[in-house]
């Protein structure tokens, strides 16, 4: 089995989709020290404008970083003066990127990593179906469950390691900026454990996405089939079901993945009362069912 996993890892490494993804990741890491602070500054400006607008229209105030933004009651000033007054009373938000905000970066980039994991998982087997390589492999190792397991293990391990590495390199590329700008405060105490936990959860969900893509491409015998089925199910079916019937969210992949990545219970949020551990269990059950189905299909179906 170890031999097969080693072969699969080598093969995975040569895939063009993997190499292009790695190139993209490398470029993102290089650009991060410029891109991330710019994005945070831009977000601060957008939030500030929104707070002023909220103040002008006397809508319910918003709390940012523990500070409730001021509003001016409608009868206090004439409409013409409100904008100037709100501009004066609304505090300017800190536009700098702080290292303690790394979790924001991880959460923002998580969807890309998850989709990337799904694509690599699907193409890792889908491309081999298209190229007709699967029959060749099976004439060398006829025990199909061994082939299935070796490929899955290699894929999941590779994607998990790649996401962890990406996050580590990203943190490494942003740290010098925060040192220069002296924005490293708030990173003591529980922060390393919290950020580490988030990173591992994102890596786990990325690896799970790869496994889902792999299973769908194995059943559909092609990358396109997996992408079509995966995206239609997640972003159409689950989205509609989850929006129309909120109580069902707690059993669906997408919503549990949201809870798992966010790593917190938000009152009235995505799935009320769903804990991270429970979300992990639900996702594990989904993964087990889909992978078991794919293994069964792969074991029994003719290879042509």
């Amino acid at each position: 089995m170890r031999r097969l996993v080693r072969v699969e890892l080598r093969r995975l490494w040569t895939r063009r989709s993997v190499r292009w993804s790695l190139l993209g990741v490398f470029l993102a890491i290089v650009a991060a020290p410029a891109l991330v602070p710019w994005a945070f500054g831009e977000q601060a400006r957008i939030n500030h404008d929104a707070d002023i607008e909220r103040c002008v229209q006397d809508r319910p105030p918003k709390t940012r970083d523990g500070v409730t933004m001021p509003t001016i009651p409608a009868d206090v000033a004439a409409p013409a003066q409100r904008e100037r007054l709100c501009d004066e009373v609304t505090p300017t938000l800190d536009p700098d990127f702080h290292l303690r905000e790394l979790d924001e970066v991880y959460r923002t980039t998580a969807p890309l990593l998850i989709i990337g994991g799904f694509l690599i998982g699907a193409s890792s087997i889908g491309a081999d179906w298209q190229a007709g390589v699967i029959p060749t492999v099976l004439t060398w190792e006829g025990r199909r469950l061994r082939v299935f397991t070796a490929r899955l293990v290699a894929l999941v391990a590779a994607v998990f390691a790649a996401v962890v590495a990406w996050q580590a390199f990203l943190a490494g590329s942003l740290a010098p900026y925060t040192l220069v700008e002296d924005t490293t405060g708030g990173t003591g105490g529980d922060w390393p454990r919290t950020i580490g936990g988030l990173g591992l959860r994102v890596a786990a969900i990325g690896a799970a996405a790869a496994a889902f893509g792999f299973a769908l491409a194995l059943i559909g015998r092609g990358t396109a089939a997996a992408l079509g089925a995966g995206f239609a199910y997640l972003f159409v079916f689950e989205n509609v079901i989850g929006t129309q019937f909120e109580p069902l969210r707690r059993w669906l992949v997408f919503w549990n993945a949201l809870v798992f990545v966010k790593g917190m219970f938000e009152a009235g949020g995505d799935v009320p009362d769903r804990t991270v551990a429970a979300a992990a269990v639900i996702l594990a059950v989904w993964a087990t069912v889909i992978l078991a189905g794919a293994a069964l299909v792969f074991r029994r179906r003719d290879v042509v």
Partner: protein, 306 residues
């Protein structure tokens, strides 16, 4: 003991609601150890399906396939290291070089890289082994597929159209290689459309038509099954020749300006000897009218399509 033993093989494919296509129907096949066994049949006759069943890629609807004594459906893994195979144009990883492809496959079987060089040499591909497979011509891919089949130094080779896409020199090279492999004591089971090649290369053949085996046996037997094959002799003195052949116990008759002798082609020397004993010298001696192609067409009704 038969190296390849197929009993009552039936394979159906479902197409749409309730519609079934029978690819192979009640096929019996027994291939003895050593030599080259040709597996012939027109397109869609079930050759590739049979080969897929023999390699465990397709599950028989009914019947059994045994290779080297192991039932393929349940126990193929026990013998897979002793079987080399190639299915149509072998699909290999295009992003690897030819050599890397074979090394990867060898690693899967726990073999060292040294066996790869031997296999590449045997198919005359060593010089291009360092190039990416995606740059290979069809013929080179065929040879690489053949090399992949040889990496395990197998006792049995199951090859589906190995000469497909090769130029005449390549076809000749493959013919010689397969013949040598057969002479080494390996069992080479090869499907092919190139009937003249099969006639020169194979010891035994089976002919498949519409999923059923319509003839099996030695090449001469199969040719004889559709009519006399025999040999044709051109003589200056036809009457003396006929008398000489009759004296030797050979059935012969005049066929225009020629004399047709009813013996298997492989017994041609006996004809020449019988004539020589009586002082009759032939000007020409060649196989008779029925070729394997004639037999094939007669057996598979290719000459009169519906």
């Amino acid at each position: 003991m038969a190296v390849i033993d197929v009993v009552g093989l039936r394979k159906e494919y479902r197409h749409g609601r309730g519609h079934r296509i029978v690819a192979v129907d009640d096929l019996d096949l027994s291939v003895s150890a050593g030599g080259v066994y040709g597996f012939l049949g027109p397109n869609g006759s079930g050759k590739t399906t049979t080969i897929r069943c023999l390699l465990g890629l397709a599950r028989p609807t009914a019947g059994t396939c045994h290779v080297l004594g192991a039932e393929v459906a349940s126990d193929y893994a026990a013998v897979q290291d002793r079987v080399g195979s190639m299915i149509e144009t072998q699909a290999l990883f295009p992003g690897f070089t030819g050599r890397e492809n074979l090394v990867l496959l060898a690693e899967m079987a726990g073999l060292s890289g040294a066996v790869v060089d031997v296999a590449l040499d045997r198919v005359d591909l060593a010089a291009r082994a360092g190039d990416l497979v995606r740059t290979y011509s069809l013929g080179m891919r065929q040879r690489l597929g053949l090399a992949a089949a040889l990496v395990k130094d197998p006792e049995v080779l199951i090859l589906d159209e190995p000469a497909n896409g090769l130029d005449p020199a390549g076809i000749r090279h493959v013919r010689g290689l397969l013949r040598r492999l057969g002479d080494e004591g390996r069992t080479v089971f090869v499907s092919s459309h190139l009937l003249s090649e099969v006639q020169q290369m194979c010891d035994h053949v089976a002919v498949l038509s519409r999923g059923r085996c319509v003839a099996a046996g030695s090449v001469d037997e199969v040719m004889a099954s559709v009519g006399s094959s025999g040999v044709v002799v051109r003589l200056d003195d036809v009457a003396a020749g006929l008398a000489a052949l009759e004296a030797a116990g050979l059935r012969a008759w005049m066929d225009g300006e020629l004399v047709h002798v009813d013996v298997p082609v492989r017994d041609s020397p006996a004809v020449a000897e019988a004539l020589a004993r009586q002082g009759v010298w032939h000007r020409e001696l060649r196989p008779g009218g029925v070729t394997l192609e004639d037999a094939f067409i007669a057996l598979t009704d290719e000459a009169t399509p519906p």
